[in-house]
Symmetry: C2
Subunit: 353 residues, 2 copies
């Protein structure tokens, strides 16, 4: 069954007659199209793909043959509405802007009602097919390779930015690219969960958070390790061990059927029990696929359970403002009876001279 | 007058009591903040900046001192609504999604009305300050340097992808990065205005479209040149000359007060007169700044006039499907009595062996 076929049945289950798909990542997932202007309308036997002049040739090469490919004007909404059936047509309310929605409403034919229906494609995307898993595994393997190179070349005496550029050069040399801007954050910068690598020179005896991911055929990986650059103060080593033990224990909770909120809570309780709860301000993990952040989410506000074929990160972190941070993150494939951890770089504290 | 002060007076002119700014590029423009979760509320003496736990330290370093910096939960909308004054509060309807708007509505205090008010900050951003122009000029200069390296290294016998990677390496070696994925598109690929560089090996005697831009301190450049790799068929040379003459003539139309639609029409009529009107399917140009596509737009649907301090591309193109394409693009600063073309790489047809 094609992805569009599966979506058609979700659309029907939601009581809709069709779904307008405007989120380009979803458009790619359904149709294969990788350009920057395009949309799909999917319904009962309905498979419309629409793009403008600039991408017509690209669409001819990329878009799945099951789609009826059409050319519209650059603002595709008016042309999209022409293929709406009568009845309830869903739109991606988490993606469509208020202004685009207002415009779309003008074009909707009589007898058609627009209905908010976000994240239907995202829910399909959360369960990966074998070929998607193969790409994510390869992206994870490349990230591991790049980390190994980093350890060989060393950290102290170099700026965070230089190290980050080198990581990304390593990805490109392997035909890949970064799935997000690599983080290399030493000492107090490591306490910023989303630090940007700067001109700071990495010194001896500090903790350095390295967070990176690769892209293979559109699919992302995501991995974090925290390295030492020499002997650490006791409390830094203690925090490292707390995060590592929590991370390993939380991995053991990942399996099909586990509650997303429950896995987060499991890790959070351990860090709270060690008195560091307030220093773990983000969620435990997130799905990874065509986007580096997608469904499912492991957090305090998460809903639903893990399912076989989900790919999630497990990444507890503890951040001591103005001092240092520790985060350890693996990428994990959820299986019926457990999980397959596809990040293979060692997690024991390594000193990189 | 600070950017927030100028926005405050725009907000007042629009009959609003405050504006909720959620577009992160606009947030950066107003406050200096470069993280990935944050918003501003600007009104009469009101300067609220809001981010979550992950970015608090970053915000302390980056956000302009005129702002009242606050920490909210990761979904910032509920906390944002707490600083809404009574009366009419604008929101960026071209950016806020339908779902976020619905959520926001729940939090709006009694006596406050939400009003669609998109692109107010974008309109300010369209007129650049001296320090913004300096960064854009530097980004344009780096793109020129990278093009010069390309010419020295040659094109035939290499894949489009290798050439594109080399361009981007050249940017990074200069401390910059690409403002968008570089385009290197030979022969029939050049007929795709947004081609992606692939495994195709560039041959002798073809046209190669090279479209690239750099980023300097957040500010973009954008430049396209089309090269020959050997003697061309007559019609290819004719198309090149048509595009070049059109581009040069259109540059002469760029000045403060010129109609955005009129400048596009001027170029379009020339290409139509040569019988290639249908092969020029995109607009003549677009603004460039913190984003590589921003206001003002030079196109058939454009509104308004050019103003001193605008930075726009002028980039006519002619695309012959399955054969070749030609596009020539300069970056131009609009001045009171004319324009300053800041792309300096030569535009005469160059043969790159």
């Amino acid at each position: 069954m094609s992805r569009a076929d599966r979506l058609e049945s979700v659309v029907r289950d939601e009581g809709l007659d069709a779904l307008l798909v405007t989120n380009l990542v979803n458009v790619r997932y359904l149709s294969g199209y990788t350009g920057t202007n395009g949309l799909c309308v999917i319904g009962d036997g309905l498979r419309t793909f629409l793009t403008d002049f600039r991408y017509v040739t690209q669409a001819r090469h990329e878009v799945d043959g099951g789609f009826d490919r059409r050319q519209g004007r650059q603002d595709l909404l008016e042309d999209a509405a022409k293929s709406f059936p009568a009845g309830r047509v869903g739109f991606e309310d988490h993606h469509l802007t208020v202004r685009a929605h207002e415009r779309l409403r003008e074009f909707v034919p009589e007898g058609t009602e627009l209905v908010p229906a976000g994240r239907l494609v995202e829910r399909l995307r959360a369960v990966k097919e074998a070929e998607e898993l193969a790409r994510i595994r390869e992206a994870a393997r490349l990230a591991d390779e790049v980390l190994r190179e980093l350890v060989e070349r060393g950290l102290p005496g170099r700026t965070e930015r230089d190290v980050a550029l080198e990581l990304e050069d390593g990805m490109r040399a392997r035909g890949s690219e970064p799935s997000f801007s690599s983080i290399v954050a030493g000492a107090a910068n490591g306490a910023l969960p989303h630090a940007r690598p700067g001109d700071r020179v990495i010194a001896d005896g500090e903790l350095v958070v390295v967070d990176l991911g690769c892209v293979v055929d559109g699919y992302c990986s995501d991995c974090t390790r925290t390295f030492a650059t020499g002997p650490l103060p006791d409390d830094a080593a203690d925090v490292y061990n707390l995060v590592l033990e929590t991370q390993v224990a939380a991995l053991g909770e990942v399996r099909s059927g586990a509650s997303c909120r429950g896995v987060d809570a499991f890790a959070r309780e351990r860090i709270e029990a060690a008195g560091q709860g307030e220093r773990f301000g983000h969620g435990l993990g997130h799905g990874v696929g065509l986007e580096v952040h997608e469904l499912p989410t492991l957090s305090r506000a998460a809903e639903g359970d893990l399912a076989t074929g989900n790919v999630v990160t497990v990444e507890p972190g503890v951040y001591l403002p103005d001092r240092f941070g520790v985060r350890i993150e693996d990428l994990v494939v959820v299986a019926d009876r457990g999980r397959d951890v596809i990040s293979t770089f060692p997690k024991e504290l390594q000193t990189v001279g």
